[in-house]
Symmetry: C2
DNA sequence: TGAAGATATATCGGAGCGATATATACTGCA
DNA sequence: TGCAGTATATATCGCTCCGATATATCTTCA
């Protein structure tokens, strides 16, 4: 079975209980978005494909007169999800405009280069706080893994913020030798 | 001036000396790729646009009979680059299949969930080593910023590897209470 | 009653990325 | 000398992804 990672996000999101495309999107935006996003343009077509492949099953679940389809994982879908979880992860990407700017910061005066690090730090501090506010919700669930991942995110952002602070200090400190570890 | 970040990668890469599209691509693959990639399909069209906008200047620089164009930054290009560097960074993305798998690892037995963390750790250790091998080259340049960024990458991967190790231990350690900070 | 916001599905355009096509030039070695 | 393999150089295609938006119905509450 050849599925893209987005398909597995969906399988994972419906693996505990059936959900609509809209609910999946909202859940993704609230949880995995920080390391794996998904848009409507991916979710709805993918739900159709997964349904045709027999990995999920669409169930009519209207709310009032507005029609609504929730998708439940099938036994085939479950084993597909588990097979994927057992493979070593293969996709790792990062896009960080801050690091890019820092990389080219040699064309700026030192003080302006330090400003890049200040912006980066501020952003990471804010992110860590935002994630911290999500902890109670994750703590309330019985599945411990979302909480582990969330705490990893918090720790990562705190590490990053700290690194920015240290690099800023190093940059502004009265230059002795040019560089030393 | 409305430019995408890739355009600024190019401006940055030609800001010290003129380079061909091929050289820019090779440089990106050797340096910024870990936090900002660029493909031929972006670079060559973008060089044309930047040239038309007067931010870079194409110069014929054939090697033997094979034609070749190197691009030099113009004064307009320089101030455009600096303006961009002075804006706070706005793009931050991460795609980490490992964290995604960990997020859903609750459907697996504990030992198999720990295996995800082992794969992730192994990958990060390898990455840190790869980056470490690039240090001498970065140290040889007089611009300190690529070195700072490189060392940040090393430290990040080491932090990540360490986190994976700690989480694996926590996962396998004789479960007392379900969770505690 | 009616405006605002939430739920629900669908689709479009643009950007990014990997892969590949096409040529020429250099390098090593049989 | 021949030639195979690799490096240089430019160009392009198809796919995925993402943000934005369109459309419609439902709920809330002033």
């Amino acid at each position: 079975m050849e599925l893209n990672p987005t398909a597995y996000v969906i399988l994972g999101m419906v693996s505990r209980e059936p959900r609509s495309g809209y609910e999946i999107k909202a859940l993704v935006d609230d949880t995995t978005r920080f390391f794996w996003a998904a848009s409507y343009g991916q979710i709805y077509p993918e739900l159709k494909r997964l349904s045709e492949a027999g990995l999920v099953e669409g169930i009519d679940a209207p709310r009032g007169d507005r029609k609504r389809t929730v998708y439940a994982i099938t036994t085939d879908g479950e084993s597909e999800l588990k097979d994927w979880l057992r493979q070593p992860p293969s996709t790792y990407e990062m896009r960080e405009e801050g690091l890019l700017k820092l990389f080219f910061a040699g064309v700026l005066p030192r003080e302006e280069a330090a400003e890049i690090l200040r912006s980066m730090r501020e952003h990471r501090v804010g992110l860590a706080e935002r994630l911290q506010k999500m902890e109670p919700k994750a703590l309330a669930k019985e599945d411990p893994f979302p909480l582990i991942v969330l705490r990893g995110g918090i720790e990562f952002n705190e590490w990053f913020a700290d690194w920015c602070e240290r690099m800023e200090r190093q940059l502004l400190e009265p230059a002795r030798e040019k560089r030393s570890s």
